[in-house]
């Protein structure tokens, strides 16, 4: 059994032009060329996309779930950031 592990990569696919790349899953590969080819072979078998990004999982920096409350809750009461906060006369129609 190999002692060294094959690095893990995250795969992002853009379904078609005009859309964002979206995380679809992961693969194992020794280097970036291999990662791109594996991502192509694993995640685009059914015409799922026209562009692939791969990034080594260990290079992703994630926010701390323990700080989720202080990170994200403060946005909750800023209702004035949304158009529905403002009243305008009905006659104006769509704005």
């Amino acid at each position: 059994m190999s002692t060294q592990h094959m690095p893990l990569w995250e795969v992002f696919i853009r379904p078609r032009n005009g859309l964002d790349h979206k995380h679809v899953g992961s693969i194992h590969a020794a280097d970036s060329k291999m990662a791109l080819q594996s991502a192509r072979d694993v995640y685009t078998r059914r015409e799922e996309g026209n562009s692939i990004w791969v990034v080594q999982s260990r290079d992703i920096i994630a926010s701390d779930p323990d700080k989720a409350a202080e990170n994200f809750d403060p946005a909750g009461d800023k209702v004035y950031r949304h158009p529905s906060f403002y009243d305008i006369p009905d006659d104006v129609g769509h704005m």
Binding site: M6, L8, S26, A29, A30, M34, R58, I60, D64, P65
Partner: protein, 335 residues
């Protein structure tokens, strides 16, 4: 599906009653649990075990059908079977990735499979001596698997649920492929029909066993139900499968190998359903414990692939190191 880099640094959670209650409340609100969220150790362990087992089933499941790729009778069937077995490899891969978010590596899981520490679905310990087995597996084994898998798309653990959504989408052709194959045989020459009936006779009972022991004898169910890893009981899913499958057999003129099978109008709250005969659980336990016809061969085949592939994986890693070193040297020289 999320990287190790995304896994929370703090996996040790103090499991006070308060914490467990708050966790259960999240589950009850149908909130998804993500890989780096705090979770009870038992929840993590159960998921690692279940997702790993599920992944192994896909990988070992490539073997009985792979047995016929080179002998498929037409080019159309050959392509369909090859694409299907390939999908199974993909599903194993998605599932290993989902398990990896919980802090176990694919290599570790592989080792557990090969040493017999981890289990996989016993159904793949039956042999595929005939072409009709390709039909029976697609129709019955995939049909039974779908019953189990569709509810898993709503499993409380996000990465597992997302992997299952992708898998269910891709699997939709598998069962149809199998049933179509079976119905062509059933309509064909007497030898073909006999081949189909023989396969049905061999696969029907093991398919029913795929749902696991009767609810009255099952050990894991209660906690998994509470955690919404599992949403229906073994017996509920088995009944659904029976009710869906029996008419499909009739439609193509095949007979279920169960003399006690009969329509019961009182089943399913008066909507009716089928009663089936007693399942032979001694056979089930025998296969689970390693005594099935193919247990040894399956693990031997996986071990051989893994060991024969070691030099390839090592070479890929060594080459990647060399490339990196050369790039670094070139950069240094340029500076």
């Amino acid at each position: 599906m999320y990287s190790q880099g995304l896994i929370g640094t703090n996996t040790e959670t103090e499991e006070s009653e308060e914490f467990l209650a708050a966790f259960q409340a999240r589950i009850d609100r149908e909130e998804k649990i993500e890989a780096n969220d705090p979770m009870p150790e038992a929840y993590r362990k159960t998921l690692i075990r279940q997702i790993g087992q599920h992944a192994h089933s896909e990988i070992v499941g490539m073997l009985p059908e792979g047995n016929w790729i080179t002998r498929a009778p037409t080019l159309r069937r050959k392509l369909a079977l090859l694409a299907k077995v390939q999908d199974e490899g993909g599903h194993g891969l998605y599932l290993y990735s989902a398990a990896e978010t919980l802090g176990i590596s694919r290599e570790q899981m592989t080792e557990e499979l090969l040493t017999g520490k981890a289990k996989y679905s016993s159904i793949f310990n039956y042999p595929t001596p005939s072409w009709a087995d390709m039909g029976a597996i697609g129709w019955l084994v995939d049909g039974a698997a779908i019953m189990n898998q569709v509810p898993l798309c709503r499993c409380s653990f996000g990465p597992y649920a997302r992997a299952m959504v992708r898998i269910c989408k891709e699997e939709s052709f598998h069962q149809r492929q199998g049933y179509e194959l079976m119905s062509v045989l059933a309509k064909g020459a007497p030898e073909q029909k006999q081949m189909a009936q023989d396969a049905l006779n061999r696969w029907w009972w093991p398919s029913l066993m795929m749902f696991g022991p009767y609810d009255s004898d099952s050990s894991h169910s209660d906690q998994n139900m509470e955690w919404k890893i599992k949403r229906f009981s073994n017996d509920e899913l088995r009944q659904k499968f029976v009710d869906a499958t029996v008419p499909q057999a009739e439609l193509i003129g095949l007979t279920m190998p169960d003399p006690d099978l009969k329509w019961n109008p009182d089943r399913n709250k008066g909507q009716g359903g089928y009663d089936i005969g007693e399942i032979d659980w001694s056979e089930f336990w025998r296969v689970v414990k390693g005594g099935g016809p193919m247990n040894r061969d399956r693990i031997a085949a996986r071990t051989k692939a893994w060991e024969d592939g070691a030099w390839v994986r090592e070479a890929a890693l060594a080459h990647a190191d060399k490339r990196r070193a050369r790039r670094a040297a070139a950069q240094e020289a340029a500076e």
